[in-house]
Point group: C2
Chain length 305, copies 2
Amino acid sequence: MSFSVTILGSSSALPTPARSLTAHLVNHDERFFLIDCGEGTQIQLRKLKAKSLKINHILISHLHGDHVYGIFGLLSSMSMMGRKQDLYIYCDPRLETIIKSHFNYFNDTISFQIIYKPFHPKKVQNIYDDGKLEIVAFPLKHRIPCMGFVFREKPKEKRINKFFIDELGLGIKDIVNIKRGNNYVLPNGEVILNEKLVLPSGPLYSYAYCTDTRPLESIAGYIKGVDLLYHEATFLNEDAALAKTTYHSTAGDAANIALKAGVKKLCIGHFSQRYKHESFFLKQAKYVFENTILAEDGLCIQICS
Amino acid sequence: MSFSVTILGSSSALPTPARSLTAHLVNHDERFFLIDCGEGTQIQLRKLKAKSLKINHILISHLHGDHVYGIFGLLSSMSMMGRKQDLYIYCDPRLETIIKSHFNYFNDTISFQIIYKPFHPKKVQNIYDDGKLEIVAFPLKHRIPCMGFVFREKPKEKRINKFFIDELGLGIKDIVNIKRGNNYVLPNGEVILNEKLVLPSGPLYSYAYCTDTRPLESIAGYIKGVDLLYHEATFLNEDAALAKTTYHSTAGDAANIALKAGVKKLCIGHFSQRYKHESFFLKQAKYVFENTILAEDGLCIQICS
């Protein structure tokens, strides 16, 4: 089972020579999800040898250019490469109109079906569930409607300890019952607890993505205990006033959310170009939440390892 | 006097790890012109430390995504950087509607004035003239209307040889007349030829940009004798049939145009990703036209040197 996040772009607003605009590639068990799609995302995918045709789900947090202007080129290139498979886009309802209008103007025919899954831009909602993984979108607080996403693995089907099948002479009905979590009752009335009959299920991993946003108490509730939190840290602590005006967070804000939510690891990114040394972001975040790393373009973070 | 072309992107259709999508930056005497603006152009400008705010003129050859999808991000970033100066866009008339519609959808207010200079997509026309440089647009032959551009320096104002001002006792009226190209007549009727009275004016340099197009005889007429020709060479000679179907050129086609037009140097680019080794393009072009070079992202070609 693989579960990883690759940072494709970690700059805010404007690209820099080292940092492209926002996009993350999530690989869960060889299902690929793209979160946000700033200009140059298709170029980053190629540089990192990630196969864009394997992406079947694109989630767009909000309609600011630095998070979405790359979608036109990416969809167009997928079409040029002959994609036939359906592609799902989870987004603000207005994006469907924008994409259709764009390709209509350019007379560009897309070779595959795009299935739009518009979300309510202000409600907590389950936007994806394949039985193994679910994704919940929740509102952030930015200048325009903006959503965060939390990816959580779902409990796997219980696997019965084969030793007991022979030992207790279990039939199919018994096995199904035990897999559903029930105890087993012997003919003499003795109860064998379910946890004794099944193999340990292993941990369930999770990942949360929060950008762009002011620091928001409610986020901690939605992302409680995730293994990895990506949270924007556009500004250093000393520019908290600027962060507030522009509806962004500081390094300290991101770390506070990580602490409150009890996450295992924090990755901060979306740095403003005004700062020359990103090491200050790390220092300020680590002061509050030790297990913090800096986003770097091309960085692949293993969530289950 | 500087006159150079920097290749920002030299791939066709799809970006590759080494080649970005089409865009050229022309610097004529510190006036900057961007020709085409594929996705990632603003990123390439930043990587090459070119100041995008210095660009006052953008020329778009045609409305295929790989030549224009970067314009939305570039304009948006110029605005974020606080640009106030007018920007001129020379383009197919439809691009004005597309850009306006795009920024309207995204509720993005641009901080400067965009002045559209639509060109007739099928006529030869002078689209720019600042007294020192003129740009002529001419039709190419692609699947959709597409224009080539030729940049030619204009004759500089004649500089009078100061020796003769005292020697002949020239007045302001005489000097103006000589600068206009007239001869000078002495009181005794003797004629002194204009070329003797003025300093040598030096050569006039020129650059032509032709992509995307089938090979077209008429191009040679428009770009006669230019110092540098950039001509697309999407395919190798053995794929001439494919070049024809897709309205592109081969390496040999580009070299033939260079030969017919009597240009001084040819630069080929817009290579298809189907080929692993671009050295074959060079070999095939050089077989016809020796002074050929391959486009590379970041390559800066000095036109007057």
